[in-house]
Structures are given as structure tokens and as C-alpha cells.
């Protein structure tokens, strides 16, 4: 006869937890979710950052821009001025319709049309065919407009001087712009995408394990033999939840590390992009998300124990990550400031704190405490509900 021990509930939790971890570390789907999927979001964001850095960043004036022009030879002074400001000219399509189509379809950024009435001496109006639906067109149009405005000021000054008047006589107010924003603006915009994507992965990391160890066990018929062991039902569910939590934590670590590494590499591709927050900030983000992991797992377990099949559970739990991630996406474009009330809302609280961390703002310890308490308490309540449902006869009787 084997040696017997007091075999307290903690030891039983550990036995079941150990089995689930061993079992699922041999499962390709669980490993994919924990180790591969969390790298996809960071790769996409970093790829976007590299592209955006190339497209939108840098000193635009240093780069030549090519503009299709019609009749530019009728305005030689303007042509020279534009050429001196790094504007090159290419032939435009022959007809008006072809020109509009080319701009609309993005084949040409802009078409500059000098009217036949222009003689290069008196005042005349130029037309810019542009497409405001495309960012690259907008930038070329804006640059061209700025150079033309500058040309006007230049001509006005020349005329004023020729008439014995001071330069700037014809332009009462001139605008000189000093951009104090860091060139990293666009990088920060991308870094703001981190919180919703991290939260999305937190709600996805342990989902396969949560389904497989509950409704999956019932479907395979292995739950009934398990329930024949002298173990409290809540102990079984707690051990399974802890296993899902462990996989969620691994997923989150991989996800955060991937964000830091890939975004760091992306930022280093351009001198003008600011580096992402440091590893210390990412470590704090991990700590802040622990209650979030708990509530994600509690929700997964509660949904998994009430569904009748793995397919049904997969449908519901596949949608679950979108619910908390959507407000995060909204906050990318319309940031919300944390208050004692907003951080007390489970999940939202962590989202606001992560937003602050990514924005390299300091956290209010009271906010951290409130968010951790309310989310952890909610997770505990949801888990208790799941444990109650797990005791139902319907949960473990096949057929």
C-alpha cells in the first residue's frame, strides 16, 4: 500500500495543476497560442512603424518631390523657384480626364496646371489636382502650396523693394512655424496601439487550455473518471484555472517582450523615431496586468463550464477578447485620463494604467491599488460563480 499523506487541498491543487501544465506543454495548439501568436501583433505594429517612418517621417524638404505639370513653361519664374525648392516636373497625361483619373487612382500625387492665360508677369491662378483621401497626396499638395505661398511673398518683397518700399510691405503678417513636437509623434501613435493588443492577447492566451480542461474533458469522457477521485470540485477548477493563468502569463511575457524588441528594432531603423519605453516600463506593465489575467481566466472558465460543447465554447471565447480590446482601440484615437472612478472599472482600469505607462507618464499609486483591487475582486466573484456551475450534474454527465 502506498504511503498516505494528509493530502490537503493545496497539495491536490498542485497535483492537478502539474498534470495540466505537463499535458498542455505537449499540446501544439496551446504552445502556438502561448509562444507564436503573441509575436504576430508586435510584428505588425513594428512593420507599420518602419513603413510609417519611411513614408511620413524625416525632413520632407530634403527630399525631391516630382509633380506632373501642365503649362509650367508659361510661368518660368515660378518653375525656377519650385526647382530651387527640390520640386521636379514630369509630363502630365494629355487630357483633363486622364489627369483626374491618375490622381484619383494614386498613380500621380498631384497635377499642377498653369492656365494658358498666364504670361508669367501678371497675377494668375494655378490649379492643383489632388486627392485628399490619400496621405501622400496631401503632403505633396501641402508642400507645393507652401512653396507657392513662399514664392508669392518673395515676388511681393521684390516688387516692394523695386518701388522703394520695405520688404514685407505687401504681406502684413507672415507666419513662421516652429514645430516643437518630437519627430517621434508617429512612433508614439504606434506605441499607443500596444495596450489594446496586449489586452487582446491576455484574453486569448489561456483560452485553449480553459476550454480543453473543462468542456473538452467532458467531451472526451475524461472528466467523469477525474471526478471519481476524492477531490473537491472547486479544487479541480482552481487548479485548471491556475494552469490557464500560467499559460496566459507566459503569453503576456512573450507578447510584451516581442513588442519591446520589435518596436525597438523598428525605431532604430530611423534616427528620427523615438525609442519605445524601456524594459523597466514593460516589467511594470506586466505587473499591472496580473489582475487582468485573473479576470480573463475567470471569464474563460465560467463560459467554458456552461457551454455544451467545445465548438460552442470556442465561438463565445473567440469573441471575448474583442470586448475589452475595443475600448482600447478607441483610446488610441481619443485618449481618456484615469480618475479614481474610471480606474475602478475592472479591465478599463488596467487599460488606462497601461496607456499611461506606454506614454511614459508616472502612475498614481492609488490608481494602481484601486484598479488591482476591483479587478481581482471581480475575478474572484466570477470564479466563484464558475465553481458553482462546475458542481452542476449537467456539467459532468455525458449524454
Amino acid at each position: 500500500m502506498s504511503e498516505k499523506t494528509s493530502n490537503g487541498w493545496l497539495r491536490r491543487v498542485w497535483i492537478v495543476l502539474k498534470k495540466e501544465l505537463r499535458d498542455h506543454s505537449r499540446d501544439r495548439r496551446s504552445l502556438m497560442l502561448a509562444l507564436i501568436y503573441p509575436m504576430l501583433g508586435p510584428l505588425l505594429v513594428a512593420g507599420g512603424l518602419v513603413l510609417a517612418g519611411k513614408t511620413l517621417q524625416g525632413d520632407f524638404r530634403e527630399h525631391a518631390v516630382t509633380v506632373s505639370a501642365v503649362g509650367i513653361e508659361r510661368a518660368p519664374q515660378l518653375k525656377t523657384y519650385l526647382e530651387n525648392n527640390n520640386v521636379r516636373f514630369s509630363a502630365a497625361p494629355p487630357t483633363r480626364q486622364a489627369q483626374e483619373d491618375a490622381v484619383r487612382e494614386g498613380r500621380l500625387a498631384v497635377v499642377l496646371i498653369v492656365p494658358q492665360s498666364a504670361d508669367g508677369q501678371g497675377a494668375f491662378t494655378i490649379e492643383l489636382l489632388t486627392n485628399t483621401g490619400r496621405v501622400d497626396n496631401l503632403r505633396v499638395t501641402a508642400r507645393l502650396s507652401a512653396i507657392v505661398r513662399s514664392f508669392n511673398d518673395h515676388i511681393a518683397d521684390q516688387k516692394a523693394l523695386a518701388a522703394g518700399l520695405p520688404a514685407g510691405y505687401a504681406t502684413t503678417v507672415k507666419i513662421e512655424r516652429t514645430n516643437v513636437a518630437r519627430d517621434a509623434n508617429i512612433a508614439v501613435f504606434f506605441y499607443n496601439m500596444v495596450p489594446p493588443l496586449v489586452i487582446f492577447m491576455i484574453f486569448l492566451g489561456g483560452v485553449h487550455l480553459a476550454i480543453d480542461t473543462t468542456v473538452g474533458e467532458r467531451e472526451r469522457g475524461s472528466l467523469e473518471p477525474l471526478l471519481l477521485a476524492p477531490v473537491e470540485r472547486w479544487v479541480l477548477l482552481l487548479a485548471k484555472a491556475l494552469a490557464a493563468l500560467a499559460f496566459t502569463a507566459v503569453t503576456t511575457v512573450v507578447n510584451l517582450a516581442a513588442f519591446r524588441v520589435f518596436m525597438g528594432l523598428a525605431a532604430s531603423s530611423s534616427e528620427r523615431l523615438v525609442a519605445p519605453p524601456g524594459w523597466d516600463v514593460f516589467a511594470v506593465i506586466f505587473a499591472v496586468t496580473v489582475p487582468l489575467m485573473a479576470i480573463a481566466v475567470a471569464l474563460q472558465m465560467s463560459v467554458a463550464v456552461i457551454t455544451r460543447s467545445m465548438k460552442e465554447a470556442q465561438i463565445y471565447l473567440g469573441l471575448l477578447p474583442l470586448v475589452p480590446a475595443l475600448p482600447g482601440m478607441v483610446m488610441v484615437f481619443s485618449p481618456m485620463n484615469p480618475t479614481d472612478v474610471t480606474v475602478a472599472v475592472p479591465v478599463l482600469g488596467q487599460m488606462l494604467l497601461i496607456n499611461q505607462l506606454v506614454g511614459e507618464q508616472s502612475l498614481d499609486p492609488q490608481h494602481v491599488l484601486i484598479a488591482a483591487l476591483t479587478t481581482t475582486l471581480s475575478a474572484a466573484l466570477i470564479f466563484l460563480l464558475a465553481a458553482k456551475w462546475f458542481r452542476r450534474e449537467k456539467m459532468f454527465v455525458l449524454g
Binding site: 502506498s2 498534470k19 469522457g221 471519481l228 477521485a229 454527465v397
Partner: protein, 247 residues
């Protein structure tokens, strides 16, 4: 000893048990037989603590299952009809897991596992993952899982279901050994030749209640039939007539 007293259980519109009673004695094999839907599996599930009866009670070695489920489960080894293995655990890991859940550990548990691996003829596949096991191999693992804590009482639901001749014979030999060791064994089976070979006592159930019980010889004498299958058919026919007359 397993005692079932006046068990009643209803699932929504289905009356699964209507006052089922039986006693399975130590050192004997008791067969619970009946047509599909007679309530055998429901009765077993109440005995091993998965379901709660609406009325009546089940006792394992005197322990009321509804009052102390875990204590009753410690004295019970169960082979459910659905073997339910974990495909990514080896045979040995299955047995170790359930041994640990019953409180065993250390060198003593490993020795018990080795003994079961030898006794059940699992040496060839003990360290292979369960995915792809044959039905015979699955059954052996499930038996190992049920026996690792050396329970005094055994419930075996369709123990030879789907097995080939050699595996069925091995299971029958194991049951005979356990009986000789003084264990209380309660089995359910649809195979009358197996029931005839194994069982010392029979309990025939229909529509959730006991319609006949006794040794195979007593039931043969009661019905006037020599063949156990014929005994079964006549008892069911008699029970059905009585039920119709009562309506």
C-alpha cells in the same frame, strides 16, 4: 460492501430510477443487468458520487455517499464505460496522476505502479502517450487508474466492451483474482456468457427498479429456463406484463 436502498432519480421528463435497491457483498461478483435505459449507469453514478439521488441512498462500506462523497470514493475503484484517457499522457502518468489524487506518493506509489504495469500486462506501452492506444490498451490503463489506490470495492461498467478474446479473458481472470482477495465487485454487462462466467449474484433491473435478484441458479429455477439469456428475457417479459396490469 455496496448497498443501494430505494434509489429514485428523475432527469426533467425522464424517470431514470424508481426505487432501485441492491446489495453487493464482499468476496462476490454482483452483476447488474438490464436493457438499455434501465437505469444501471445512473445507479452507478449515484454510488460513485457523481449524481445525487432524489430519494434513497447509496452506501460504500457503510459510508453514505451523499453525506461523505470523498470518503466513499476513497474506498471505491471505478471503471466507467467511457474510458476517457488523456491523449498526451502516458499510461504510467495516468496511473501516477490518479494515485496522487488518492493521496499516494513517493517510492511506494512508484512500486504500486510497477506492480500494476506488470499485473495488467502494460510493460510494452507503459511509457507511450495514450494517443493511438487500442481499446484493450485503453481498458488496461483505465483499470490501472481504478486500482492504483487499492480500493476494497470495484464498479466495472461493461468491463470487456469492445475487447478481443484474449483481452476479455485477461479481464475475467483479473476479476476472479480480485474476488478471491475478498473485494466487493459490482459489474454491468450485456454479454450473458460473461455474466454467467463471472457473477455470483445477479440483479435484473428494468425501468429503474429491481425486477429480480438472486444467484444464477436461483433465477434459473425461478423462471424454469437453463440459458441465462432466456432467464433474462423471461424476467423482463414478466416485469412488463406486471407493469401493464398495474396501469
Amino acid at each position: 460492501m455496496i448497498e443501494i436502498e430505494n434509489l429514485t432519480k428523475r432527469f426533467d421528463q425522464v424517470q431514470a430510477l424508481s426505487g432501485l435497491s441492491l446489495t453487493a457483498q464482499d468476496g462476490r461478483v454482483t452483476g447488474l443487468i438490464g436493457p438499455n435505459g434501465a437505469g444501471k449507469t445512473t445507479a452507478f453514478r449515484i454510488v460513485y458520487g457523481l449524481l445525487t439521488p432524489d430519494m434513497g441512498c447509496a452506501r460504500v462500506d457503510g459510508v453514505n455517499v451523499a453525506q461523505d462523497r470523498m470518503q466513499a470514493q476513497r474506498q471505491l475503484g471505478v471503471l466507467p464505460d467511457v474510458r476517457g484517457l488523456y491523449p498526451r499522457l502516458s499510461a504510467r502518468e495516468h496511473i501516477r496522476y490518479f494515485g496522487q489524487l488518492h493521496g499516494a506518493h513517493g517510492a511506494a506509489l512508484e512500486a504500486d505502479i510497477d506492480e500494476l504495469v506488470t499485473r495488467l500486462g502494460m510493460s510494452d506501452f507503459a511509457d507511450r502517450l495514450a494517443k493511438g492506444f487500442s481499446r484493450g490498451q485503453e481498458l488496461k490503463v483505465a483499470l490501472g487508474r481504478a486500482l492504483v489506490h487499492r480500493p476494497h470495492n470495484l464498479i466495472l461498467d461493461e468491463p470487456t466492451n469492445g475487447l478481443d478474446v484474449m483481452s476479455s479473458r485477461a479481464v475475467r481472470e483479473l476479476i476472479a483474482e480480485m474476488k478471491a482477495e475478498g473485494h466487493c465487485i459490482l459489474i454491468s454487462s450485456h454479454i450473458m456468457s460473461e455474466v454467467s462466467l463471472l457473477c455470483d449474484d445477479l440483479v435484473i433491473v428494468a425501468e429503474g427498479r429491481t425486477v429480480a435478484s438472486g444467484t444464477p441458479d436461483e433465477l434459473r429455477a425461478e423462471t424454469g429456463a437453463d440459458d441465462l439469456e432466456e432467464v433474462f428475457v423471461r424476467i423482463l417479459a414478466r416485469a412488463s406484463s406486471k407493469a401493464k396490469a398495474a396501469q
